[in-house]
């Protein structure tokens, strides 16, 4: 029982944070843009949500507010990078730094939401559908629905004209210019979508934890990158697995790794080291399989990853 429950709550965490890793997938894998805005837009989503929930806003609506706030953050990073010509890493750092203050300005300080306030996990419509489930499983189901919905929308988007062009930007921006499109605006679009998703992840975490803390964004870029790299490394040889699926699976594996490290009872100071070793094992195991396939596919995979 304990194992099952632990697996369920860890899986739930993995699914919630997968919203963030899907965002990082867009910037890092598709746009080839190392976006550091994430550390700021994740708590931004939580800050907006904590304030809105406390003010009595409909809990489902807070998700839209968070999406909008994150989109705005991504838009600013994009504009700074494209229009002002600031380097990608720096543009992200600038916005991330600014967001630290903005988040505190929005929330006042670290903020918790009372238990009496309904969240997406406890509000009427959720209870009407899944009221029969315990909170643990209700959280899993709601997180699963949200993440799947985002995944399906993203997958569908990637098949649209705009989606194809977005994929082209990171792949070969020269072609985008040749197609008479401004690659800058596509980058801005990608950053906007990615940070909207990151803020959505922050919002759901806020619903789940009933709290916003200014420091909750620390390390989320690293998490997102690790999740995406783990996922894509695992699935690099499986052509039919979509990038979004890889990002989601990567997020789940990451959270299981952390839980395993906690459960091993390691001293706190060794926790991160143990996590790092686990990632390394996964990456090495993932790339070891390269030797098996034909050289061509191996080379293609190598150029695509890491």
């Amino acid at each position: 029982m304990a194992l099952l429950e632990l697996a369920v709550s860890t899986l739930t965490q993995g699914l919630i944070y997968a919203l963030l890793s899907c965002g990082v997938y867009i910037t890092y894998k598709i746009l080839d843009f190392p976006d550091l805005t994430v550390d700021g837009s994740f708590p931004l989503g939580a800050a907006v949500t904590a304030v809105a929930l406390t003010a009595g806003v409909n809990p489902y609506l807070t998700l839209l507010l968070a999406l909008a706030a994150g989109a705005a953050a991504g838009l600013v990073t994009g504009l700074i990078h494209v229009k002002l010509g600031v380097r990608d890493l720096l543009a992200g750092i600038i916005v991330q730094t600014a967001l630290f203050s903005i988040n505190l300005q929005i929330a006042g300080s670290n903020l918790t939401v009372e238990r009496g306030v309904a969240t997406i996990f406890t509000a009427g419509p959720t209870m009407a559908l899944f009221g029969g489930l315990s909170l643990l499983y209700r959280k899993l189901v709601v997180a699963l629905i949200l993440t799947l919905a985002v995944k399906l929308v993203l997958d569908a988007y990637f098949r649209t004209k705009s989606g194809l062009l977005l994929r082209a930007v990171g792949d070969n921006s020269t072609l985008v210019t040749s197609l008479a499109r401004d690659k800058g605006s596509m980058k801005i679009l990608g950053l906007t979508v990615a940070n909207a998703l990151t803020a959505l992840a922050g919002a759901v975490v806020c619903h789940e934890q009933r709290s916003f803390s200014a420091t909750m964004g620390a390390g989320q870029v690293v998490f997102g990158l690790a999740a995406v790299i783990i996922g894509t490394t695992l699935f690099r040889r499986v052509g039919f697995v979509k990038g979004t699926t890889a990002a989601i699976v990567g997020s789940i594996i990451y959270k299981f790794c952390i839980q395993a490290a906690i459960s091993l009872g390691l001293p706190a100071n060794l926790l991160k080291l143990a996590t790092a070793v686990l990632f390394l094992l996964i990456l090495v195991a993932g790339s070891a399989r390269k030797k098996g396939g034909n050289i061509h596919a191996g080379a293609a995979a190598r150029s695509e990853n890491l």
């Binding site: 029982m1 304990a2 194992l3 429950e5 632990l6 697996a7 369920v8 709550s9 860890t10 965490q13 630290f100 203050s101 505190l104 300080s109 670290n110 918790t112 939401v113 009372e114 238990r115 315990s134 909170l135 643990l136 975490v205 789940e208 934890q209 009933r210 709290s211 803390s213 200014a214 420091t215 909750m216 620390a218 390390g219 998490f223 695992l234 699935f235 040889r237 499986v238 594996i253 959270k255 299981f256 790794c257 952390i258 839980q259 395993a260 906690i262 459960s263 091993l264 009872g265 001293p267 706190a268 100071n269 926790l271 991160k272 996964i282 195991a285 993932g286 399989r289 098996g292």
Partner: protein, 324 residues
């Protein structure tokens, strides 16, 4: 095929690991107390030590009456969340949460199962919404007026007190508000500088010194306390005394403090937990407690170095915390 096999092996490995650990947790029939500590930090460690002492004082023996599952989040909010979930999944009898992020995470994880949560080292349980449910604990609200009175005794001529704090820590923000409200009663003005990260603290200390403050007073602000050594180097050079907010800071070189004894705070928390474990009261029935006594701690070496003489009556009640 290979990929599938690989993924299977990976998941199997992860699950086996979890299973093993879950089994070790379920194996014992004695109730488990999950202690979730936010990070490695002298005051927080003292809370934990005191908590265990409190349980012992209440007549509970570790190993016989309870076992402890101690976890430390290493100051990572996301790890704190997963620690809470582990405790909930393992159906611990009680969660002891040290510092606000851990308490918030434990309380959220316990929501489903109504596992009692006992917190400590939280300045403002009201604003952290840690009241009303199956939750109680102890607050480490600073004895601000006692500190102001102490500074007035040691530095009769002083006019301004400088304070460094982290803008995102609600504990610090509320303490600053209290300092500013009470300072005029003791004839002080407050110069506070807020930072957002530990890396900014020493720069902020330079700025405070440049503004000509007569002394510095510390809060229990994690970022500031973390670089206290570096701050003391600067202030000693400038000949400005620094007052601490608890005994550990005085040990490090602050001249004096009217502060909380975190071991005592932990003991008080442990005794509350014992009542809950014995079934004498539910966490919901016990209101959270704020420690009312405070100690005066001094560091004679630091006082002497800065040429501050200790008034006789203060010396009599003060506890020497500096190196002998």
């Amino acid at each position: 095929m290979k990929t599938k096999k690989m993924i299977k092996t990976l998941f199997a490995g992860l699950l086996c690991g979890l299973l093993l650990l879950a089994l070790t947790a379920c194996g014992s029939s004695t109730p488990v107390i999950g202690i979730s500590q936010y990070g490695e930090h002298a005051s927080l460690d003292n809370c934990r030590i005191g908590f265990l002492q409190g349980l012992a004082e209440a007549g509970l023996t570790e190993g016989k009456d309870y076992t402890v599952d101690y976890q430390n989040a290493g100051f990572d909010d996301n790890v704190a969340i997963q620690i809470g979930q582990r405790f909930s999944a393992n159906n611990v009898a009680l969660m002891c949460a040290i510092a606000t992020p851990s308490a918030t995470a434990c309380y959220a994880a316990a929501e489903d199962k109504d596992i009692p949560v006992v917190f400590t080292a939280i300045s403002d349980p009201e604003s952290a919404n840690l009241t009303g449910g199956n939750v109680t604990g102890t607050s480490d609200k600073l004895p601000v007026t006692a500190q102001l009175a102490l500074i007035r005794r040691l530095q009769p001529e002083a006019k301004t007190i400088g304070i460094l704090y982290t803008t995102s820590e609600p504990n610090s923000v509320s303490a600053i508000a209290e300092y500013e409200a009470s300072a005029p009663d003791y004839g002080f003005a407050i110069e506070a500088i807020g930072v957002t990260a530990q890396s900014e603290v020493t720069q902020a200390a330079d700025a405070l010194l440049a503004r000509g403050v007569d002394c510095l007073s510390n809060l229990t602000d994690n970022n500031v306390v973390g670089v206290l050594g570096a701050i003391l180097e600067k202030t000693n050079e400038a000949g400005i005394p620094v007052y601490g907010s608890e005994v550990e800071q005085v040990k490090l070189g602050c001249v004096a403090a009217a502060g909380i004894d975190y071991v005592a705070l932990g003991r008080q928390t442990g005794q509350m937990a014992a009542r809950i474990l014995r079934g004498e009261a539910g966490a919901a029935d016990i209101p959270y407690e704020t420690i009312s006594e405070y100690g005066i701690y001094i560091n004679s070496a630091a006082l002497a170095e800065l040429g501050i003489t200790l008034p006789e009556d203060v010396a009599q009640t003060a506890v020497e915390a500096g190196a002998q």
